[in-house]
Subunit: 374 residues, 4 copies
């Protein structure tokens, strides 16, 4: 970054699903950390290894986005605080930042009754983005999909997540898919993505069961233990629980989960993965995993794990990390799929290792590369 600027350039973070739990936590949490109200727990890119990478500062991030609902962000934040997702008093402390982001949220779509065709929707979304960048004088903006998981598409029409992804390309913005929805993974978008010269990353943030699997799978493999069955059940409330209880939506998510096992173990063990919608759990999720494995001479042993986490609190810092990394990648001229960000995803783009430790090493190398020439 040029030292001659009187103030550092600002970077836009455009959230698809901008009024959801994750997006609200992103906006409120970024403001809280910038203000020094909270330590940067959970923010990977605040570790010393990333200090020289030239990443945009958290204080330089400006938020906007699309959503189809209209609950104001300050109110959403109060709801999250009541549910224990945000600390008490935080919504009030960052009310100004929430309100500022709220004014930059534009209607998403298509809603029922919307007669616009695909191209018109893409054009409208892209115009929203370009307006955001221009009006606020942003150096660049990255688009991050944090909307509820949509059912796997069954035909050629672009699902909503792909419309937003296409809009990002058209507006010249790097794209990050934090969900298992289609986004850029649509055959109709592949040539556009390639031609855009933009970097992109995804998909499906690794925040719980799969995160664990990406360290436990390599452990079994390195110890030459024979995993016979790996079974899992996820209980989650909130919008995500309802979305993923739909078998079509769960299918995409589960594919990512199973890929991690197959890649790290070298075989596909027996066992299923269930995703249950349990509204009483609110924004909290519980994942139980049962791993039956054979040791020396075939002796049967079992590992079980229980992960009790808050989905938004797990996802939000990773969204900030990704926005910073991809914005910087764009700045340095990188293009195409960023396989080096596999650390963050269940189903990473490009060719990447599956073991978390190797993914982390690759991420650090990538970040150091971003800083060269600074």
């Amino acid at each position: 970054m040029s030292a001659s600027l009187s103030r550092p350039p600002r970077v836009g973070v455009w959230l698809v699903g901008a009024r959801g739990s994750v997006a609200t936590t992103v906006v409120a949490g970024c403001a809280a950390v910038v203000a020094g109200l909270r330590p940067p727990t959970g923010l990977v890119t605040e570790a010393p290894a990333f200090a020289g990478s030239g990443l945009p500062a958290l204080s330089s991030l400006v938020f906007g986005g699309h959503d189809t609902t209209d609950c104001p962000l300050p109110k959403r934040a109060e709801q999250l605080a009541a549910g224990g997702v945000l600390p008490l008093g935080l919504p009030a402390a960052v009310a100004a930042e929430l309100a500022a982001a709220d004014t930059e949220i534009r209607p998403g779509g298509p809603l029922p009754g919307d007669t616009r065709d695909e191209d018109a929707l893409i054009a409208a979304f892209a115009a929203d983005l370009q307006d955001f960048v221009r009006r606020l004088g942003l150096e660049r903006a990255v688009v991050v999909n944090v909307a509820s998981t949509e059912p796997a598409p069954t035909g050629p029409p672009l699902p909503p997540s792909s419309l937003y992804a296409a809009a990002a390309l058209r507006a010249g913005c790097p794209y990050i898919n934090f969900t298992p929805s289609t986004g850029l993974h649509h055959p109709g978008l592949a040539p556009l993505a390639a031609a855009s010269g933009l970097p992109y990353a995804g998909r499906d943030g690794k925040t719980g069961q799969t995160l664990l699997r990406s360290v436990l799978g390599p452990m079994f493999a390195q110890r030459a233990l024979d995993v016979r069955a790996w079974s899992g059940t996820n209980l989650l409330g909130g919008g995500d629980g309802a979305s993923l209880a739909d078998p079509a939506a769960a299918a995409a998510k589960n594919a990512g989960k199973e890929r991690v096992l197959a890649d790290t173990l070298g075989t596909t063990p027996e066992g299923q993965v269930h995703i249950d919608d349990v509204p009483a759990l609110g924004d909290w999720k519980t994942a139980w995993d049962h791993v039956a494995f054979d040791g020396f001479l075939g002796t049967r042993m079992v590992l079980q794990t229980i992960w009790q986490g808050c989905d938004s609190a797990l996802a939000a810092p990773l969204v900030l990390d990704l926005a910073r990394l991809v914005a910087r990648a764009h700045e340095t001229g990188l293009r195409g799929p960023l396989a080096e960000l596999a650390f963050f995803f269940k189903d990473p783009v490009g060719d990447a290792p599956s073991a978390l430790g190797e993914q982390y090493a690759e991420l650090v190398r990538f970040a150091q590369g971003l800083g060269e020439g600074e």
Copy 2:
């Protein structure tokens, strides 16, 4: 290895605690795998990455050792089969190999009433070792301590594990401490170890709770999650349960467990570790871990793990791996502490990374180095 030999050189594996569960499983299991009765599950060194390292073949290993009890190995094997540790029918199938090893077991000590002083005991043990190597025409022998954990020593006299370690040095044999007992970690033995020119490794095989911690600790650290408390309880029967219920014996073991957390997390979280003797569990152990951690904005989350394993089945293949690696290291002229074997230990000698993934990478590099010049 020279192709001109009509038969490959044989390598001795001298087990301190040769009639225990681990040693019996080592002998029976090696025979079963050599005979093709069982796949090499759990044997790290049978992975392709180790194929070119020049390790002694499993079929070239010859077993002997010291013990203070006199239950014959074939009978111990039957007991283990009755407890589900060895497969049904295996003791009969490898009866010849068990009997052969049984004839190479010499009385350990000191037993109550033994009036020999330290030097006489060391000399006697070293003579047993040298006789084993000479009489059977072995190329070399490695000594592995798999005896029950002894209380932490309180004064200058050498504890039994250190007497055996000193005997290994005197007999010119590399030494591996698979237990948390003192072994070579005695100030009185440091100069001898340095002067011996022998390689050595240890200590305390990483077979359950600490194995898990060595992959979960790095996961928390890489994700910048703030581990506030890590509590654990181990239930185990068998001789190990009784030994470790002694707080003095448990102290050494727990130090290793906590070191892994401190090293991988960068801080020492709250929480204790308990080791309970539960004879009804026999050779099986259960470890429960409870990890309370804070995520973004301080949101509290919890991971729990339950590991149900068979101690002997977890330890035995690692003992074989270590014997092969250290024998080969000796052959190639390596000396001193083998920090590159940290993958196997809770409390590794030398300066080594604490994350299992890094330890594995280092192990593979080490093994490849062993093969150079073949």
Copy 3:
């Protein structure tokens, strides 16, 4: 029982699914306990409270049954011993009893290609039963269904379990349905059951998750805690896993599980129950339950349970208990649904309490009533 008899009368136990894991464990286990090789662990009716009930002695039970496969019982028993379900050496020790039962197993059906109509099948099965009683000079015989769970029937034709139940009625034998299959619960059999004057019991033995729920549900209710969601996952291998992975078969089983919660809690909480077929688990099953409940002032709390059991070892003693109790009920002239045996079932016949403690109290009262007049 009359003291003038030179030998006590013998009672037949006719097992539908006589070559399955449960039936094999019933026959081998009864012999082992009678011979004093094993204590009567798991046998409810060996408790002192049942001493005066006039139940037939275990030594008086004689086994036979129907099955559609032909693996001999002694061989099945060896398979179970290899899987850890039966103790090592037990099959050999009770080989005579296994062989004796094996000779009393008749072909079940209908097998593919069988052209007999319903009535012919019922008549054939009833004839097998009558022949068993007459030929062996049995005082009476009870029929117990321990066959794999069949899919819920969709129409008027009688499913196999109902054919066997009808045969029991025709042969004058009390009937016990230990599975969730239809058995006597078919509208076409209701008048026959009523007219038969026979006692009957069922259905679906309560051996794991539902057993736990029947004590935990009342605990929550008595403490006025508000259970918001009760979710469960069952992993099981063996034939039962495969049968119940079929949603139609699982439906019947899950209905029983949910009835227990609704009855004991007074409401139906959120949450699903999954039954996964995991062949690698063999005869072992694992059930995880996650209970999210609200305490005082709505504070959210969680109970989780993990039950790791061996299905055959859990079911077999209850089958013996039920056979003894129902045989004695028949002897004393009881008829119709035996609601007092709800202690044993997920989905009991008649009107019975759902809390295990109350069911046990009722069982003891029932058993004491059986003994009056002795």
Copy 4:
């Protein structure tokens, strides 16, 4: 209660440890339920079975107590709300009731430097109580010990909990010991208790692990399963964690826990109980139990339970239940140990069943007896 009173008589609840988490939750929670802000979840005595028992209404309860600290109740309530123990906004909504109770809290003791002897302390505490009753025109008051657990006493001097208990006797107030501290269980107090003609109850509220054990123990016994080892670990923060990490304090608590197993199982299984102080958990506690049991033919099975609860939220409604029941028992002239309240305690006074279901049945009978003659 007489219908001629213009307003119902008021009943005092005198809390020893009146500024602690439990006491604060008692006062705030009672007010919240009375005001209709929250449903009576967790209050056993609000169930229909207790409707005719003549218990004092929640709205008739008046709170006071002793404590050695001076943090005002409204502030304590805010702290609890920040920790998730009380709902957000509740402290403000019941600020008046908290303030009213705060004015009725008197200094406890003895504090360091206090030179009063035992009798002077007892007299002072009794005077506080009598003043409370007289000044507020209460019909009666019950004393409930909810202070932190004290170390088991080692000699004749009365520990503080016994001083308060003696003061209750002297002031003519029924006494309830909700903690494992000594209270009335001191040989020096037995004759006083007997002579007082007052009813009393205790000790050690059953709110988590032992509550579970009191339903699981009977389940194993009724099913004739052979429990071989029952091991448990409790993690808790807050003041209770620190108190109970002291082995002397834990001893009393663990004795109660083990008594439940011995009484319900008929034998004492192997296994230990640990209580760890984990300050990071705040007012939350986690209890893990591991039960190794043998089924039919000795087949080993395992049940594990994990209870994650909020200690204050579990205890507070039971304190209200007990205060109401014991006040009514006093009104009806009952005296001596109230064994019928065993449902609430780990280590109940008098001769009582250990199974929770039987305890509940006895409680309901007791409550119905209280209502007779109304």
